[in-house]
């Protein structure tokens, strides 16, 4: 158990500041299957959210809607003041401002680590190669693997690959980062190095949404924990409240299952 000394003061907020993400009455179906049901969620700039819930509850689908890797059918999603629509140009612009880290890393296996990091800055941000490489090396140092710049993803361990994936997202200077179970494909001894990188990122004030079952991480960095079940947001609370006094039967059941 982490001590209560880690309790953070919530970030100061100007009420006129638009939220980073706003979902209102959002619904999504896969054919007849109602995956996301009336999602209402506002995420403020600099806020860190941990999303948890049983398998198949729609956590991945929800965060993939935020950068439109999935389309929603009803309701509104507004990211940094821009409503997500079918305008392809605009979607690419919004996506370039949202970093995403995947469960299975999804590095580009045919490119070196450095090329993985510079690809989008060069082709999307139109950055010069030299400058993109400088930025890439900066972030590789931050995730503590600058010496692997010229190797290929297949030559790295899982933990190293996931840290490269985080650095790749950071190279685009995103305003928001989405994590989809970033540690659940890793061997246990590599989980900590990735979580440490994420904690450091959180301390820098990045807006983060993280699907994870690492409850220690949730206690340490989350401002709010969102609990989902069967496509609904069942409960949303500060980590200490959520873990000590879960309000719903389903949350209690879930916590009992993952904490034993």
């Amino acid at each position: 158990m982490l001590s209560s000394a880690l309790k953070r003061v919530p970030p100061m907020r100007d009420p006129s500041d638009p939220p980073a993400i706003e979902m209102a009455g959002m619904n999504k179906w896969y054919g007849n299957f109602h995956v996301l049901k009336n999602i209402n969620l506002t995420v403020h700039r600099g806020e860190k959210l941990v999303i948890c819930g049983p398998s198949g509850s729609g956590k991945s689908t929800m965060i993939r809607c935020i950068n439109r890797l999935e389309e929603h059918q009803q309701g509104q999603i507004v990211v940094e003041g821009v409503e997500l629509s079918n305008d392809l140009k605009q979607i690419d612009v919004i996506r370039s401002d949202i970093g995403m880290v995947f469960q299975h890393f999804n590095l580009f296996p045919h490119l070196t680590i450095l090329e993985n990091l510079t690809l989008a800055p060069i082709w999307v941000r139109r950055m010069r190669r030299g400058q993109a490489e400088q930025t890439a090396m900066h972030y590789l140092e931050r995730v503590k693997i600058p010496d692997q710049a010229h190797t290929y993803p297949g030559q790295l361990s899982g933990g190293q690959q996931q840290r490269v994936a985080i650095a790749r997202a950071l190279c685009m200077s995103p305003k928001i980062i989405l994590f989809d179970e970033p540690t659940s494909a890793l061997d246990p001894e590599m989980v900590k190095e990735v979580l440490d990188t994420m904690v450091a990122l959180a301390e820098d004030g990045m807006t983060m949404l993280c699907v994870t079952h690492e409850m220690g991480f949730a206690r340490q960095v989350a401002d709010r924990v969102v609990f989902m079940d069967q496509g609904e947001i069942v409960e949303m609370n500060t980590p200490s409240e959520f873990f000590s006094h879960p309000r719903h039967q389903r949350s209690k059941l879930f916590l009992a299952q993952i904490l034993n």
């Binding site: 890797l69 996506r95 989008a120 030559q155």
Partner: protein
Amino acid sequence: MLSDARTRSIIIQCALVAVAAAFAALLVSTTFANLRARGIPIGFDFLTMPSRIVISEAILTYKSRDPYYWAIATGLANTVFISAVVIVFSSALGLVVGITRLSSNPLAAGTCRVWVEVARNSPPIVLLIFLYSLWWKVLPPVGEALNPLPGVYASMRGFVVPAVSMDVATPGLLVIALALALAAAGWAAARRRWLPPLTAPAILAVGIAGLWLADAKFFVDWPTFTGSNFKGGKDLTPELSTILIGLIIYTTGFVAEIVRGGVLSVGRGQWDAGHSLGLPRGKILRLIIIPQMLRVIVPPLNSQYINVVKNSTLAIAVGYPDFLAVMNTIISKSSHSIEGVFIILGVYLALNLSLSSAANWYNRRIAIVER
């Protein structure tokens, strides 16, 4: 010692080679003895004799006074030309058609699907005969030739297109520049698995600079219509056009399927990663998907290329003198059938083995590094 796996395998292989060689030697010596007994001449001396056969059209310059070996070379050049043109065009078209089949636009995807199904399910010879019969049904006589593009005419007698020729003042310099450009390409390919954006323009620049330094002049000979015929330009006869267009349509169908399989073989996660970085679809294809699918599609693509070489023998159906057709004429004219068959087998074997080794080399080049 015989229990050592490697030694044993070497001994077995040597034994097999020895048996095969002995069998071949027996076959050859018996054949030769029999032929000699019957008074049939055998040997390759005839190759230097004047052939007196007619080759209706050729990429090289050929006259019927030329010796047999030049007739063979002329047929070979025709086959290599057909194969090369078909391979280049059907690769490019197959890439486009294969990718378009996966597009979300139903009309575009459907059109490409029809192409693939027609090409894959019709015997190529039927396609060729059908196309050949179209020349007289669809295209107008020479007097009313269509002019779809400036300098391009189409009529019953085939296409007439502008001819490009080059005159080089100092060929040495050009050779040096081309060698430099090739070396640069080789160096880039050896250093990087995937050519960085600026490599291709740089190589092109070296080539163009070489052309300029060598004072090369290009001449374009535009065809002109004289009322009853064309002057200048280059003729593409109905026969050559049919075999080229037919085989391109046919092969594109197969290449497109291979490309589609290749694109699908790259996991969805790669698209997700590309999209999440803000890369548009076209750039994801070009920078992420195509480079990864190449290593999957090169082996099946190579067998399609080999099929192109083999299918080029269907030229005989429309009367275009490809290598096989020329060899047939040579055999019946010279009655050196054994030698002729050996030459035919040797040439197709050599062509296809070179294609395979080029593909293998390329596949090793682009293999993905793993631990």
